[in-house]
């Protein structure tokens, strides 16, 4: 038996509402105790002791939306490289999108990913399976068998389901399995090939815009169907104030809906697109500063439940192009926490809520027993320096792809050590 004591830190565990000076005691792969009561108890004989003075001891992060290229696009990202990026960002569990080639629409593919993850990954990989075969938006996949194989949710990844009747049936059927249907919400017909937020800036730049209503219309349809079917529905990536308002109303009506936002939409706005920088081509597009602010407020008031990296590796073949021809998406596993801490430093979010939306909240949403320091749970832990200054450097990123929105960004706060099942998978070398 090996024993590890993380001593003298600030223990922040939103799953139990703890924010206090304390310690975490780990035996083998699980947590024995965590919190102020462990403080000054001394270390058990033979324990490895890590002094966490001035550091935060938090549950390892659970990232609810990550695109990986394996199988099919390994040159963009493998499960191994994604896991290295995750570990460096304090992410110990991630929900992997089904946009692989072939698409994760078969139990055997879910098993393949889990097998590959067991063999190569530093962190926990939780596959989300497709709602429809081939992500084509037509025939439902085998929700029951896919869940048995290990799928934690259903989503058509980057695609929004076009057909309301397919969405209705998927939700109705998913309810019988208590499965979560997660979806991006952009009405492609109304988006009409737009590549950035519609408005003055898009007109100045001569780029076709996506109106906020393209998101709202699709979102409201899904929220209405969630009400109709009683399914657990997750609006995976909302981007604007009117969407947050719609989710808030659906929650007030008692629907079982949740919402997520990507760290990019919490950190950036449409002005970052100026200069036609394709790394800022995202879907949904970056909106204006009012919307960005509304996202932060919606997290604070509980309308938005989770923050995700929406890590989406793209290579030069899809990014080294004129803006409108480039693929949307940005990597973000390594910068998720640091970018989120900006909202703590600027006072929009308190630390407990910021940690909650990337630990216990996504864990609860996807039914995962992680994102907590509760005794008995797996020892998935992130040790964080809340104020450490650093600059994101393209060459230090572990992802196979380079499409970061935070290249050369100055950050305050970073992960010092990441632990999965009691084993250190990342340690910052200074």
């Amino acid at each position: 038996m090996s024993t590890l004591l993380l001593a003298n830190g600030r223990v922040v565990d939103p799953s139990r509402g703890i924010d206090a000076t304390g310690a975490v005691l780990v035996e083998d792969d699980h947590i024995v105790a965590a919190g102020p009561d462990v403080h000054n108890q001394g270390a058990p004989e033979g324990a490895e002791i890590i002094d966490c003075k001035g550091r935060i001891i938090a549950p390892g992060l659970v990232d609810g939306r990550v695109f990986i290229g394996e199988p099919g696009y390994e040159y963009r990202e493998t499960i191994r490289s994604a896991s290295e990026a995750a570990a460096a960002g304090g992410v110990t569990s991630l929900v992997m999108m089904p946009d692989t080639s072939p698409v994760m629409d078969e139990p055997s593919l879910v098993e393949y990913v889990l097998r590959t993850a067991r063999a190569t990954s530093l962190v926990r990989i939780h596959p989300a399976a497709a709602i429809t075969r081939g992500l084509r938006g037509q025939e439902m996949t085998e929700f029951g068998l896919l869940r048995e194989a290990g799928a934690v949710a259903f989503t058509d990844g980057r695609n929004t389901l076009e057909s309301p009747v397919v969405m209705r049936r998927a939700m109705t059927y998913a309810r019988d399995f208590d499965a979560v249907i997660a979806s991006e919400t952009q009405d492609e017909a109304l988006a009409a090939g737009g590549v950035m937020n519609e408005g003055k800036l898009a007109t100045l730049m001569g780029l076709p815009g996506v109106p906020r209503e393209a998101e709202l219309i699709s979102l409201q349809r899904d929220l209405a169907l969630a009400g109709l079917t009683g399914a657990r529905y997750h609006a995976a990536k909302i981007s604007c104030m009117m969407s947050a308002d719609a989710v808030r109303r659906a929650k007030d009506n008692g629907h079982k809906v949740t919402a997520g936002v990507s760290i990019n939409h919490l950190s950036l706005n449409e002005n970052d697109v100026q200069g036609y920088r394709t790394f800022y081509r995202l879907s949904p597009p970056l909106r204006d500063e009012l919307d960005r602010h509304a996202m932060a407020n919606a997290i604070a008031d509980g309308t938005i439940d989770v923050v995700v990296s929406s890590h989406d590796p793209q290579d030069v073949d899809t990014k080294r192009l004129p803006f409108a021809e480039a693929a949307p998406g940005a990597i973000g596993l390594e910068t998720l926490l640091a970018a989120l801490l900006r909202r703590v430093h600027d006072g929009t979010l308190n630390l407990m809520r910021a940690i909650e939306v990337v630990t216990s909240a996504p864990a609860a949403l996807f039914g995962l027993p992680y994102g907590t320091l509760k005794p008995g749970s797996k020892a998935d832990i992130a040790i964080i320096d809340l104020d450490a200054p650093w600059e994101v450097s393209d060459k230090d990123l572990r992802s196979h792809s380079r499409n970061s929105c935070f290249e050369n960004a100055r950050m305050s706060g970073r992960v010092i050590r990441t632990i999965v099942s009691g084993r250190t998978v990342f340690e910052l070398n200074d």
Partner: protein, 318 residues
Amino acid sequence: MVARPHSFSMRHLLGIRSLSEQDIEFLLDRAEKAVEVSRRPDKKTSSLRGRTQINLFFEASTRTQASFELAGKRLGADVMNMSVASSSVKKGETLIDTAMTLNAMRPDILVIRHGSSGAAELLAQKVDCAVVNAGDGQHEHPTQALLDALTIRRHKGRLQGLTVAICGDVLHSRVARSNIFLLGKMGARIRLVGPSTLMPAGIDEFGVEVFHRMEDGLAGADVVMMLRLQRERMSGAFVPSEREYFRYFGLDAEKLAFAKDDAIVMHPGPMNRGVEIASLMADAPQSVIEEQVEMGVAVRMAVLELLAGPSHNEEGSS
């Protein structure tokens, strides 16, 4: 030759938005001189002798390409045309790779037209020579706005205080955007006239007045600038039909009568006669459409000379 003022420091011409009022005046003055040269029997000068100009056209454009070619040749440059049909872009090579390849051939000027907004800017970041934007997506077409301004100035003697009505498909038009930027900087009053389906979002924040009836938009105008409307946008997608569009937004004598008596009629070409402009209007005395073509060569000569000419390298004037 006129000395370059300190204010003109542009390495490329990517758009009007980044030019100052002084830059524009200076370019137009230089273009006036090029008009004189172009009207001489011997049109050839030597200011770009030994320089290489590559016209890189990803969108077919006979007129603009010919205009740039002639401008370069009149200045003595060696001009090479590359159009997409014969280039490796169709074989999957990206814009940037094409640019790097051409850059290695050490041209002095790259003139680019591309269907994507921002393509000229992207190219300018990757190559060592001067880049001239000959139209990028729905973003800018700076030499068109300059030639329009030159044409207007020659007829009206000024730009400031004039009322210019820009009519038609503003939404998809890079010509409209460049003209709005230029005329705005030069103190003209800009009106946009067209159906709301062809007006871009946020356009009312551009210091323009928007009209949806030609009669209102043209009332008292000094200049009527028509925009081209692509045929595929007229069959129900943005407007219901050609005949309905012509009825409400096509320029005919009746609608032009609302403008000032001495108003001039402009069109960037190529025209859809009978759609956005009545055939008679295009050939009427008020029409300056052919003169625009002449000014196009002059403006492009001025631009090319300024970006790649001898004064650029501080080698003295010719």
